[in-house]
Amino acid sequence: MSKYIVSSSPHIANRRTVTGIMLEVLIALAPAVVASVIFYGFYALFLEIFSVGAAVGTEALYNRIMKKEQTVKDCSAMVTGLLLALNIPVSAPFYVPVIGSAFAIIFVKMLFGGIGKNFANPAITARIFLLLAWASVMTTFVKPIVWAGGAKEIFKYFACIVKGPSGLGDVAAVTSATPLASLREGAEKVKDLPVLAMFLGKTGGSLGETSALAVLIGGVYLMIRRIIDWRVPTVYLATVALFALIYGAAKGAVGAYILPSLLGGGLMLGAFFMATDYATSPNTKTGLVVYAVGLGLITSLIRFFGNYPEGVSFAILLMNIVTPFIDKFIRPRPFGFVKQGKGGAK
């Protein structure tokens, strides 16, 4: 990059750099990483390292082969790799995050021009790619480890390294139904859901979805540091809660659906870390609200009426694609502009 950049006003000066922002996101993801190791042992960390390594390596290699400026130093590939790993269940074999990260970097990010030019969030698109590629691996969730079980438990999931869930032997014994799957099984089932366990992370799920608390800590950190706009997660979660309230009322269990809907699946991770990608969310405040409402509606519709148990990733991908249109129709009002209407200034 050249040292002097010529551009038109307005000029905003601050000390924020891409690298700085990405490092903040990595810090915010730290609680989720720690939680994944606590609940799934060291194999979780192994998957995360593999995923990050593959993402960074692919970007470096791509830039080298295409003779482009080396961009791995901005750490955005690390964020993509880590987010993707947090979207994968612990029973996945090692090549799943590797291929997913390579797909995210090459097909979603670099082919469209690199950071800031991607049409959709690379991590979420790669998650959908993996879901369609290895459906059974991506939807087999195992129970979190029990620390009282001793050292063996900590290394238990290394058995999945090549064979995936079937490496664990009797899969049926370790597979746990996710709370989300229970959402469609009637109000009685929903009332029995262990809400506190879902909040802490003692139910089955992917690495980063397990503990809503850990993701929430990171998300609040990002909002306080003003890295992400508070509107997207807040409005997104509110829309999902409202939909769950209405759905619950229709099923005769007002309120029973709200907490499981908010705490289950990848909603927290998606709302705080993936829906808030700068390049793929609208530029205006009103646009962000419209975007977040759309996310909430699509997520809830897929969850309650669709074929897939989880709708967060599809919702984010769809709204990412709609983002340019939101920006087209919702324009910021220029400073000093007065609307020409009835009784307005002439």
């Binding site: 074999p93 790619f129 369609l132 590629a133 290895w134 459906a135």
Partner: protein
Amino acid sequence: MKSNRLNTLTNGIVKSNPTFRLVLGTCPTLAVTTQAINGLAMGAAVTFVLLCSNVMISLLKKVIPNRVRIPAYVVIIATFVTVVQMVMQKFLPSLYDALGVFLPLIVVNCIILARAEAFASCNPVLDSALDGIGMGVGFTLSLTLIGIVREVLGAGSIFGAPIGSLGNVSMTIFILPAGGFLVYGTLMAVVNYLMRLSEERKINALHSMPENDEEEVGA
């Protein structure tokens, strides 16, 4: 004159490959290439129809009134498609089922209409036949290539024969429509990159020689 004829034949295979260069007939390309054998069968069917319709249209080009030429072409093409369909149903019932609705849809395949309109309607019979064969072979090769890539990645087999234990780690997405778009796009990028390389090499070689470029006949 002889090299001209050869050019007409090879034009469709590489330079104006209907799938990767002209981007015609993308609908069957994406829909039937879940397996290599399907791509091959689709390509063979289209080649037959293309050859026969090109010859027929070239023969009738003075008879067909200009105003109703498209309906006339479609009637000719539909005749040959019906022949293919009946032969396949009788002798290759499993392929007939696999290709499904895309077999009768060859009638409106844009490669065939495009070659009829752009080539056969204004060229002699022999050239039209060569063009039909070239385009058909190009289409067949492209579809088989896409089919092989999708089958190897998506099902771990090639022409139905499993490759080792690759089937255990195969990625279902490549058999789904999304995978079709992925493979098609990637292969198109690769083919166009290779074409550009060879063109650049040709330009460099011809740099000192006098220009003798031929006009490309295509849609």
